[in-house]
Structure formats: structure tokens, C-alpha cells
Amino acid sequence: MERHERGSWQGRGALGKLSDKGNLLILSLSVLSFGLIILLAALGEKRITVYLPAIALAYFADTLVIRAKRRTRFDYLGAALFVVFVLSIVATVI
């Protein structure tokens, strides 16, 4: 293979690390959940039962789009967030 062709994959640098799904999941989840919190805070929201479903939704949406490999087959964190999500919705509605 010619050396000049190698440049196409050598030049990936730090951005290339984002092609690792784990890194991408952490970064996108941070941006999404922190963004939602800032948005809700800017709207003057003061109920924690509104913030919690937003965090849970951010997690579900992100893990649905970026299917990174996990240590365990069962998503315990997802299950816990689902319970929190349901309880928060129930608390908000009631």
C-alpha cells in the first residue's frame, strides 16, 4: 500500500476516538442530559419530578441510538431509570 494512501486513516487523530461507541455514548449523554437540565432551568422549572423523567428520557434516547457494548446484558441502570421515570410521572400527575 502506498504511503500517501495511509494518510486517510492516520489523520483521524483525537476525533477518531469518538468513533469508539463508548466514548460517543458518554459524550452525547452528557450533552443531552445537561442540555435538557439547562433548558428546564431556563424555563423556570422547580419540580424535581420534571427533571428526573427528562434525564431518564435522555438516557433511553441516547442508548437507543448509540448501541454501545455494555458489561452486562441486562441494563440495570435503564431499569432503575424506568422505575424513576414511572414514579416521577405518577407523582407529577397525582
Partner: protein
């Protein structure tokens, strides 16, 4: 402690602290939510497996095993190379290898055999007059006979010969793609990702190797690229590139069926290999028997 574990623990600790302070000591709901979000990110980080580092020792051992059979392959290549066996067609920045079968169009270059409880061999036909059948293939000699003696083919043992003996390879419910990923991505780190598509007797495997090459590790990268990805010439021509050869061994072991490489497309970041399962007769797999038909 790995990188993800350390980051995860730090984030969970920070998140809990912020939540506690902003909920119990100085109540401020958005900050408490921020703390919870940081904890969630931390727990997500903890749930990720540590990114595996490429093990240069494994690579060196693999390289050695590839080079070990190269002299034999060169001899076989010379014996067969009275006519062009493999057509190399440059397509943009990739090379497509069509195994269009040397001296007779319907003969394969190599047949990857399943292990059958022993180390698995690859059969390379030397004689174009008789199409290979399973008995000949299984009992073919493992060395080149003296020039006066008739020899239909030879069995060689490749880097993937022992893969079929690993119990996990025939694990219940494991797909070919899972096994390929385990060997090529997680163990040898020859690829960053692998996809496999099965269509009856045909299996197409896409191997992405964009993450293998990094700025930091140029010398090792060159070693891997020059000697493993493309492989020495005779290896590449007779058995395919090293990852493709290993993938063929894995497919043969997982499917318990002989396998041939129909086509291999190699580009700097991606290799696509087309495999055909052989059903055990001399006439008939894939493409209506084009490869094997008489």
C-alpha cells in the same frame, strides 16, 4: 482500575456530592438534577467495558505464524502459477481480488476445512484436471511431494487452524458475526468492527479497520499493515489477507462446512470478503455451481 471505571467512579462521586449539597444543605432543584444527571453519566460510564488495547505481543505471534507458512505457500504458488490465478483489479483506492481460479476457471484457490475435532487445514488444489472432492481434500498430504509424483492438492495449517477447537466457537446461540467480532475485534484487534451477512450458502463479511491505525504507533501500524492486513504475497493470493483467512477459518468452524473465498475487496479502511460454503460435493455451491461445477 481502567479508564472508564476511574471516570465513572469520579462522576458518580461528584454527582452524589452535588445532589446532596443542592438538595439537603442548600436546596436548589436544577443543581440537584444536574448532580443526578452527572451520576447517571457516571453509572453509564461504569457500565461500559474497558476499551481494549491492542496487544503487540499477540500481533507479533500472529505475524510469526503467518510468516512461518510463507515459504511453503511460495512453493505452492510457483507450482500453480503457470497461469494467473488471481485477478487483481484496482478500483479507485481499493484492490479487488477475484479468485478466478488459475488454470481452470471453476477451481477454487483454497478450501478452508472445518476442524472436525482436530486442527483445521486449508486445502489448496494443485491439479486442475480433477475437481476436489471431500475425501481427497481431507486426506491430502501436508507437504509437497517430489516432482515426479502426482499430487492433486496439499493441506496447509494457517494461523486460524486451532480456532475450531475453541469451545466458544460452536457455542449455542452464537452467530458467526459474534464469533468474528470476538476473534478479530476483541482478541486480535485486527479490526475495529465486523459485520456478517448470511444468505443461504453465501456469507459476506465486512471488516472495518479504521481504528487499528493511529498516529501514535506508526512503526507497529506499518508492521501490522504490511505483514498482516495485506499479508505476504503468496498468503494473500492463495489464502486471502490475514483477517480474511482467519474469518474463513472461523466461518468453516462455526458452520462445520468447508468454505472458499469467492472474492475479497481490500481498501485502506475496509475489507469485504465473500465466502461460499461447500456442501461436500464436487459440483455445486454458490452461484449455481460456478465455482465448483464441472
Amino acid at each position: 482500575v481502567g479508564r472508564y471505571a476511574l471516570l465513572g467512579i469520579d462522576l458518580v462521586g461528584l454527582g452524589l456530592m452535588i445532589t446532596f449539597v443542592s438538595y439537603a444543605i442548600r436546596p436548589f432543584v436544577p443543581f440537584a438534577a444536574l448532580g443526578i444527571a452527572i451520576s447517571v453519566v457516571g453509572l453509564t460510564t461504569l457500565s461500559l467495558p474497558e476499551p481494549s488495547k491492542r496487544n503487540d505481543f499477540e500481533i507479533a505471534v500472529l505475524k510469526g505464524s503467518v510468516l512461518g507458512i510463507e515459504p511453503l505457500l511460495e512453493e505452492i504458488y510457483k507450482k500453480r502459477s503457470s497461469e494467473e490465478m488471481v485477478e487483481q483489479i484496482p478500483e479507485g483506492n481499493k484492490v479487488v481480488l477475484f479468485k478466478s481460479w488459475g488454470f481452470q476457471e471453476n477451481h477454487p484457490v483454497a478450501i478452508y476445512l472445518p476442524s472436525g475435532g482436530q486442527k483445521a487445514a486449508v486445502y489448496i488444489p494443485l491439479d486442475d484436471n480433477s475437481p476436489p472432492n471431500l475425501d481427497n481434500v481431507r486426506h491430502a498430504p501436508t507437504r509437497l511431494l517430489s516432482p515426479g509424483k502426482r499430487q492433486e492438492g496439499i493441506r496447509v495449517f494457517t494461523a486460524g487452524s486451532y480456532l475450531g477447537l475453541v469451545p466458544d466457537i460452536r457455542k449455542e446461540g452464537a452467530s458467526v458475526e459474534d464469533i468474528l467480532r470476538q476473534v478479530l475485534v476483541e482478541t486480535t484487534k485486527l479490526c475495529s468492527s465486523v459485520k456478517a451477512l448470511e444468505m443461504e450458502d453465501n456469507i459476506v463479511v465486512e471488516m472495518i479497520h479504521d481504528q487499528v491505525w493511529t498516529m501514535e504507533d506508526t512503526e507497529v501500524d506499518e508492521m501490522i499493515h504490511d505483514h498482516l492486513w495485506s499479508g505476504p504475497e503468496a498468503h494473500r493470493i492463495l489464502l486471502g489477507s490475514v483477517p480474511t483467512s482467519m474469518a474463513a477459518s472461523i466461518v468453516a468452524a462455526a458452520k462445520s462446512s468447508p468454505v472458499t473465498i469467492e472474492k475479497e475487496e481490500i481498501s485502506p479502511t475496509r475489507t469485504v470478503a465473500h465466502f461460499v460454503l461447500w456442501n461436500g460435493t464436487s459440483a455445486g455451491v454458490g452461484r449455481g455451481g460456478v465455482l465448483w461445477g464441472n
